[in-house]
Amino acid sequence: MKVLVAVKRVIDFNVKVRVKADHTGVETQNVKMSMNPFDEIAVEEAIRLKEAGAATEIVAVSMGPPQCQETIRTALAMGADRGIHVETTAELQPLAVAKLLRAIVAKENPGLVILGKQAIDDDCNQTGQMLAALLGWPQATFASKLKLADGKALVTREVDGGLETIEIKLPAVVTTDLRLNEPRYASLPNIMKAKKKPIDALTPEALGVDPAPRLKTLKVDEPPRRQGGRKVGSVAELVDKLMNEARVI
């Protein structure tokens, strides 16, 4: 079974994001970029399926400017077999990404698509569900356990009330949550090997998808800043303040 994983290039999770002075977005110049952490978990899960003999080939897909090839190389260094880069400088929103992925699924025929549940830049949490809808496939979001057997997947999902398990028919779309696995680091020899693995280049036009955004960003602002930093000297003082100043207990 072929497994497709989608990987997004985002501002590294450790970077303190700054809103641009003209309020059109956030600063991305000279900022460290990395693979979306949830997508690393998706790549790792695909590799584990291959190591367990459940997957035969792992294809990593990324979309966006030329630098996305670095993100694909990271996936290849972790253990993916080949890459697909959909090159575009256009803004890609989740519905457009889902349509592009649907077109790639039609060419590649994977038995399973694994994506991160959410990208840590736009925090949308949409693409996997949208892809499943467009394909008419079942979805298992927020996965913390994945077991494949007899053309089905048993997926444990992290939900607000605890854990839920669903059984879905394959082919299917799975999105990852934090506790699914701990992604490996790519070793130096594997990073070198990854440079020789193939990356196919495609475009939205070649895939027959109009990626035009449906939502227009009118402006991006900084949130109101909290006035914190006050310290108290003792437990008794803390309780006094909470009772008599803040009046919350």
Partner: protein, 316 residues
Amino acid sequence: MLLVVAEHDNAALKPATLNAVAAAAQIGGAIHLLVAGSNARPAAEQAAKIKGVAKVLIAESAALEHPVAEDLAALIVPLAKSYSHVLAPATTFGKNLMPRVAALLDVAQISDISGVISPDTFVRPIYAGNALATVQSADPIKIITVRGTAFSAVDAAGGNAPVETIPAPAPSGLARFAGAELARSERPELTSARIIVSGGRGMQSGDNFKLLESLADKLGAAVGASRAAVDAGFVPNDYQVGQTGKIVAPELYIAVGISGAIQHLAGMKDSKVIVAINKDEEAPIFQVADYGLVGDLFQIVPALDAELAKRKEGSR
């Protein structure tokens, strides 16, 4: 007309539904509530009493007892065409369901809105809440998930809406509920608690969370945790507060042994009052705390617990 997809467990509505109705009320127009379930009359009757709700639609079938997104989307998509907006809470329920609905309608989804500017323009946090985007939708139907903490719940009483039964679709057979391990607690739910006591890596073990539970019970509080504490296995995933866990904004948030990573702050920095207890005085949590107490939590928390017990005694 607006449709709000109610989150419920058949017996009762989840409180986040009331916040989603509040967002719908800000957008304006007649609000209908959809209750899809099995033996869900009690939830539908609660829905009918919500102030500002004009009509409740109830769809029932055995398969909808624990509904999967595939079946709910099949129910909602044909209904959605009669509405300008379809909203659901930005809980794991709404986040799982609504993008599927949006894609089937070939429209965008607007995730986790924290403000309504006009019927087509909304504010939503991005980058873990470090920026707020104002976005305008050109789609004919707006599919929206609502950040509960950003909209005060509407009154659960005062309404008297009619309840109309609609047919439930046949199950798709693509996905099936196979079981759940849901946390049971006498304490309030995290997302609607007035006070939250949260622990981080500094708690050192799951056992030590008993200290926080005792404190929480004195305060009538819920217990939460940082990702680090959940990853370490101290507490289950449903405790997690943060960018990709639960978003909370209680009146009082007490962070114990939590350093304050951006991803954690994203889930709690809209709390009215924040208390931080940490031995590292450089911990970033202190920058957002209204009251910081530097020291060993294993001394401070029992002392705080005793102090609260003493004051409670004194007030009687």
